[in-house]
C-alpha cells in the first residue's frame, strides 16, 4: 500500500481499564483521583519476535531493528532500561498471553496505522507486565540501512513503538499540513510524534523531547539532580485552557521539550529540562488528531493563537521554576 502519509497509532489498550495519556509524554492509568505512570519495574524487558517475514524485511531483520530500538532508548544517559531478546515465536503480537511479542501482522482495515502497541498493566501499581507491538504488513517496509524510497523504515517505526512499549505517549513537537488524504508531516523534533515521516525518510534517534520523557519515567537520581521543571498555567479569558501544547526552548542548546495542560485549570508541569533560562511557547493541539494525544473525554480547547510567554523562565537544578501564567487569545 502506497501512501503519501500514514498514521502511527498507539493503541493503548489495557485489560482492566483504559489508560489515559497524562503528564506530558507518559502513559498512565487513573486510580480514583490519582494518575499512575505506566512503567516496567522488572528489567530486563524480555521479548519475542514473531517469526514472520514480509517483503523486504525478514524476521531476523526485524529482530535487529527492534534490538537497535531498545538499545537507542537504553543509551539515553542516566536511565535504567535493559532488554533481552528471548527468541522467535510463532505467536502473533496479541495481549493476554503473558509474553511480550513484537512482529508483523496483516491489518489492511487499519489503513492509517503503521504500528500499534498494546499493554497489560497492573492498574494498582502502574507496572507494565506485558506489551505487544504489531507492525502492519499491509504497508511496504524496508530494513535497508539508508532507507528505501516508498517503503517505511522499520527501524524508525520500531523506535517509536518501543517508546510506547516503555510507557511514552505521543509528542506534539511537529508541524503538519492538511491535504486531501490526511496530514503530511513537514517537520518533527520527536521520535514520538504520532504521524510518520514519508516512506523512505529515517527517524532513528530519540530527540530532546523523547529523552526528557523517557528519563522522567526511568531516570536515575543523576537525571533528577541535574535537571529541573517548569510549572505554570495557560489561560484564556481568565479560565484554564485544557489540552494546550506547551513547549520549552533552551536558547543555549536549542533543545525543545513539550508538554500539555491536562486539567481544567490549565496547569502544566514539564520535567527533565536543563537548568537555565528557557523560552516558553504555547500552541493549540492542531497538528494531529486529538485522540492521538489525549483522552478525548477531556474538553480540549484548540481555539487560540500560538503565543510566547513574555519572560524567560529560569529552571533551577533539582527544582521547579516559579509558576507562570500564559494568557492566550482566541483565534
Amino acid at each position: 500500500m502506497k501512501r503519501a502519509a500514514a498514521w502511527i497509532l498507539a493503541c493503548v489498550v489495557a485489560l482492566a481499564t483504559a489508560p489515559t495519556a497524562f503528564a506530558y509524554l507518559k502513559l498512565g492509568v487513573r486510580q480514583g483521583s490519582r494518575l499512575i505512570t505506566l512503567r516496567w519495574n522488572a528489567m530486563p524487558i524480555r521479548y519475542f519476535i514473531t517469526n514472520r517475514d514480509v517483503p523486504n524485511v525478514t524476521a531476523p531483520q526485524l529482530r535487529d531493528a527492534v534490538g537497535r530500538g531498545f538499545a537507542s532508548w537504553a543509551a539515553v544517559p542516566n536511565v535504567t532500561i535493559s532488554s533481552e531478546f528471548v527468541g522467535f515465536t510463532g505467536f502473533s503480537p496479541v495481549s493476554g498471553d503473558n509474553a511480550t511479542v513484537l512482529g508483523f501482522s496483516n491489518r489492511p482495515e487499519l489503513d492509517r496505522v503503521l504500528g500499534s502497541t498494546s499493554f497489560t498493566v497492573d492498574t494498582v501499581t502502574g507496572e507494565i507486565v506485558e506489551s505487544d507491538v504489531f507492525f502492519n504488513s499491509a504497508f511496504a517496509w524496508s530494513a535497508a540501512t539508508p532507507g528505501e524510497t516508498d517503503r517505511q523504515d522499520i527501524g524508525s517505526i520500531a523506535l517509536h513503538e518501543i517508546g510506547h512499549l516503555l510507557g511514552l505517549g505521543h509528542s506534539m513537537l511537529g508541524e503538519t499540513q492538511l491535504f486531501s488524504g490526511g496530514r503530511r508531516v513537514l517537520g518533527a523534533e520527536a521520535v514520538m510524534f504520532p504521524i510518520a515521516f514519508s516512506p523512505g525518510t529515517l527517524n532513528r534517534a530519540p530527540r530532546a523531547d523523547d529523552i526528557a520523557g523517557i528519563s522522567d519515567i526511568y531516570g536515575t537520581d543523576t537525571f533528577r539532580n541535574t535537571t529541573g521543571s517548569i510549572t505554570g498555567r495557560v489561560t484564556k479569558n481568565g479560565s484554564g485552557v485544557i489540552g494546550a501544547h506547551v513547549i520549552t526552548f533552551n536558547p543555549a542548546s536549542g533543545r525543545l521539550i513539550g508538554g500539555f495542560t491536562l486539567s481544567q485549570d490549565g496547569t502544566f508541569t514539564i520535567a527533565g529540562i536543563e537548568p537555565g533560562p528557557q523560552l516558553v511557547r504555547v500552541e493549540p493541539l492542531d497538528d494531529g488528531d486529538i485522540a492521538s494525544f489525549l483522552d478525548t473525554s477531556l474538553n480540549i480547547d484548540v481555539d487560540f493563537r500560538p503565543a510566547f510567554y513574555s519572560r524567560l523562565v529560569t529552571v533551577p537544578r533539582r527544582g521547579t521554576s516559579r509558576s507562570i501564567e500564559i494568557a492566550v487569545v482566541a483565534k
Binding site: 518533527a188 536558547p251 537544578r317
Partner: protein, 222 residues
C-alpha cells in the same frame, strides 16, 4: 593573567624609583593612607547568542534544511549599578584596592519568524550581577587632577531572576581614570573606565567576553 602580574610588578618597580616625587596637596597620600570611594557604574551590553528552534525535515534528502519553528536573538542590555572601593596606598603613587560592584542587567531574547505566526516578543530575565575583586592603581603626577591606570582581577557571580540559577566565573580588568580633588583635598571626584574580560557571563554562547565598565563617584582620602 600572567602578563597582568608582570605589568603590576613593573609598575611597582617604576613606582619605587619615582617614590620621591612630591604629592601636591594638603592631604597627600602616604604609605598607609586609606581611600574609600563609591558611586554609580554603567556596565556595557553584549551579544548573548542567536539560535533557532529547529525540527527535523520530512525529507529523504540528507541536505534538506530543517524546519524553523522560530528564531531567537539574545542580548544582555547595558545596566547601571553601584560600586564601592576601599584602597590603601602602598607608596605615594601606588594603591591597592578592593572593589565590589553590583548591577542588574537584563537578558533579552527576541523571538521572531514563528512558523505558526505567533506574535514576535522579546522575553526578558533580570539578572543580579556581583563582582568582587581587587585592583592595583598607579597614579601619575600630582595636583587636583590625578590620572591613574589600574588593573586587577575579580570573582564574578551572576544570578538569574528569582535567583533560580547561578553562574560564577572570574574576570580581569584594565583601565584608567582620573581623580579630581576638591577643597581640602580629602574629598574628590573619581571617574573610571575599564575593560572587563570575563571568563563566563550569563549568555547563551559561553565564551570570554569583554565588557566596558564606566563609573563615577566620590572619593575620600584619610
Amino acid at each position: 593573567m600572567r602578563s597582568l602580574f608582570l605589568a603590576a610588578a613593573l609598575m611597582l618597580f617604576v613606582s619605587s624609583r619615582a617614590g620621591a616625587q612630591p604629592y601636591v596637596g594638603t592631604a597627600s597620600p602616604r604609605v598607609g593612607s586609606f581611600e574609600i570611594s563609591g558611586g554609580v557604574l554603567s556596565s556595557g551590553g553584549y551579544d548573548a547568542g542567536s539560535r533557532s528552534a529547529l525540527e527535523s525535515p520530512n525529507s529523504t534528502s540528507t541536505s534538506a534544511p530543517p524546519l524553523t519553528l522560530f528564531t531567537t536573538t539574545s542580548r544582555v542590555a547595558r545596566a547601571t549599578g553601584a560600586e564601592v572601593r576601599l584602597g590603601i596606598f602602598v607608596s605615594p603613587r601606588i594603591s591597592v584596592e578592593g572593589t565590589f560592584q553590583f548591577t542588574r542587567p537584563v537578558l533579552q531574547t527576541a523571538v521572531a519568524d514563528d512558523f505558526e505566526n505567533a506574535a514576535a516578543v522579546t522575553a526578558e530575565d533580570t539578572l543580579s550581577s556581583y563582582v568582587a575583586g581587587g585592583s592595583l592603581l598607579y597614579h601619575f603626577g600630582s595636583g587636583r587632577f590625578v590620572p591613574f591606570v589600574s588593573g586587577g582581577g575579580a570573582y564574578l557571580r551572576q544570578l538569574h531572576e528569582d535567583k533560580a540559577e547561578l553562574l560564577t566565573g572570574s574576570e580581569i580588568h584594565a583601565g584608567g581614570g582620573v581623580k579630581y580633588w576638591l577643597g581640602a583635598r580629602r574629598v574628590g571626584l573619581r571617574l573610571d573606565a575599564q575593560a572587563s574580560s570575563r571568563s563566563k557571563s550569563i549568555a547563551f554562547e559561553q565564551k570570554r567576553r569583554v565588557v566596558r565598565v564606566l563609573s563615577a563617584g566620590l572619593v575620600y582620602l584619610f
